[in-house]
């Protein structure tokens, strides 16, 4: 899907033009202090059609999807939904912000895991994510991060070595195919 304010409105089920830039979304954002572009600025960029900047920023991938911005908006703009829409549009249009590469890889690896298994296989998630991220940024600390947790998790019986799979994985595959094939449209 090409980026446009109509596309964002449709994906996020909202009206970005309603925003009058009070900044309440940014004031309450738990990760606002780390963002290169604040939530209210992202909404403004969408209003003014500056999608290059809105999609190519770290902020949309720093968002923790806590929904505080949307809950507090006096104009009921679904700000969290706008950030969802910008993430989707960025990936669909191959805009990969350099600083956020690791988070983007993580979300893609997570989704592929579900596509294959129907349920999250945690061990596979860790393995595939770390190797993919390592190939991209060669970060040795990331590779070994949390490796000391594994034995602690095993002794607590918190590790599924095999992971679960749904029985009807073929259907899960078809659901994914249909959602990705027809040019994703928003429903929420």
């Amino acid at each position: 899907m090409r980026p446009s304010s109509e596309a964002v409105d449709m994906l996020a089920h909202t009206h970005v033009t309603d925003c009058y830039q009070c900044g309440k979304c940014s004031a309450g954002c738990p990760v606002g202090e780390r963002m290169d572009v604040l939530p209210n600025q992202l909404v403004r960029l969408v209003q003014s059609g500056n999608f290059r900047r809105a999609m190519d920023c770290e902020a949309i991938w720093l968002c923790v999807s806590c929904q505080t911005c949307s809950a507090r908006c006096p104009k009921s703009v679904n700000c969290a939904g706008v950030l969802d829409a910008l993430r989707q549009l960025a990936v669909e249009n191959n805009v990969i912000n350099a600083a956020a590469r690791r988070t983007i890889v993580f979300q893609q690896v997570f989704l592929n895991n579900i596509r294959r298994n129907g349920r999250l296989n945690e061990l596979e998630l860790v393995g595939v994510f770390k190797s993919k991220a390592f190939l991209k940024d060669a970060s040795v600390p990331l590779l070994f991060k949390d490796s000391l947790l594994a034995p602690k998790m095993i002794t607590r019986g918190k590790f599924h070595l095999m992971g679960e799979k749904v029985k009807d994985r073929a259907l899960v595959g078809r659901i994914f195919e249909r959602c990705f094939a027809e040019g994703p449209r928003g429903h929420k």
Partner: protein
């Protein structure tokens, strides 16, 4: 009493202590859980970040199974799952076009009629009086900080559960157990747990702020009703302490742990001995 049950990936994975706790606790209250057949992941943050349609279709698949099997009410103890299921269910119930489209995508008729409940709502349904009557070991030494995090209360228009800025439903239950519920500032601030693997910096910072506020208000434990909050505040607590050079040593309980223990279950029975920070 029987209720449908959607465990979600976390409760069948590294948060299986939460599943055990919920099962033991609700079992003692006479509530039997009927697990949804062949359920699929709700898609979580990855789905709503990358494909809006999929973020409805995956929950719709689960709702379709529930409808097929005659399950009208379903507990989803993970707030990420319950939020996604509720959101999809409402969108389906509101739009004929969406019902038709999703029924095609998931290859089964789906209307969104299934009621989805979080853990607190199941306790509310059981009733405070009944819980109070079952208490044999009042938790008089417990000073709990009830932590809701993000998705138990947000988005409020869809969830229609408690006050999204100052919820008190967990406090009500905790007090019925004979425990004290402290007043504090961070009960609906997100801990960022979904980002633990790809952006640890942010997550440790958020967890540290939450744990610091808990201690500043005199709590001796935190109560959660979310597997991700628990992983983040319990398993990652040692990382927070190392990063910020502090000692929190704050035990984190699932709400069902405390209800179960007040009803006389041992810590081991509730799986509390498998937590990382032990009281």
């Amino acid at each position: 009493m029987q209720i449908g049950y959607y465990p979600g990936c976390a409760l069948h994975g590294s948060s299986n202590d939460y599943e055990r706790s919920v099962r033991v606790c609700l079992g003692r209250l006479g509530m039997e859980l009927r697990e949804l057949d062949d359920w699929v992941c709700c898609g979580a943050t990855a789905a709503h970040s990358l494909n809006a349609k999929l973020a409805t279709a995956l929950p719709a698949r689960n709702l379709a199974i529930a409808e097929r099997d005659g399950i009208d009410q379903m507990l989803a103890p993970c707030p990420m799952c319950s939020m996604e299921l509720i959101k999809a269910g409402q969108a389906l119930a509101a739009s004929d076009a969406l019902r038709r489209e999703m029924s095609e995508i998931v290859e089964q008729k789906v209307s969104g009629a299934t009621g989805v409940l979080n853990l607190i709502q199941v306790f509310q349904q059981i009733g405070l009086e009944r819980i109070q009557k079952a208490v044999v070991q009042p938790l008089s030494q417990t000073k709990a900080a009830c932590y809701y995090g993000c998705l138990l209360v947000r988005p409020p228009e869809q969830l229609r559960f408690d006050d999204c800025e100052n919820p008190t439903s967990m406090e009500t239950i905790i007090k019925a157990l004979g425990a004290e519920a402290i007043d504090w500032n961070y009960k609906t601030e997100c801990c960022g747990a979904g980002m633990t693997m790809c952006n640890e910096d942010t997550v440790l910072d958020l967890a540290h702020k939450i744990l610091t506020d808990v201690a500043a208000h005199g709590a001796n434990c935190v109560v959660v009703a979310c597997p991700m909050c628990h992983v983040n505040l319990d398993m990652k607590q040692a990382d927070v302490e190392r990063r910020y050079g502090v000692t929190h040593r704050m035990p984190i309980y699932y709400l069902s742990d405390l209800v179960g223990m007040a009803m006389g279950a041992s810590g081991a029975e509730m799986g509390v001995d498998r937590h990382y920070v032990v009281a």
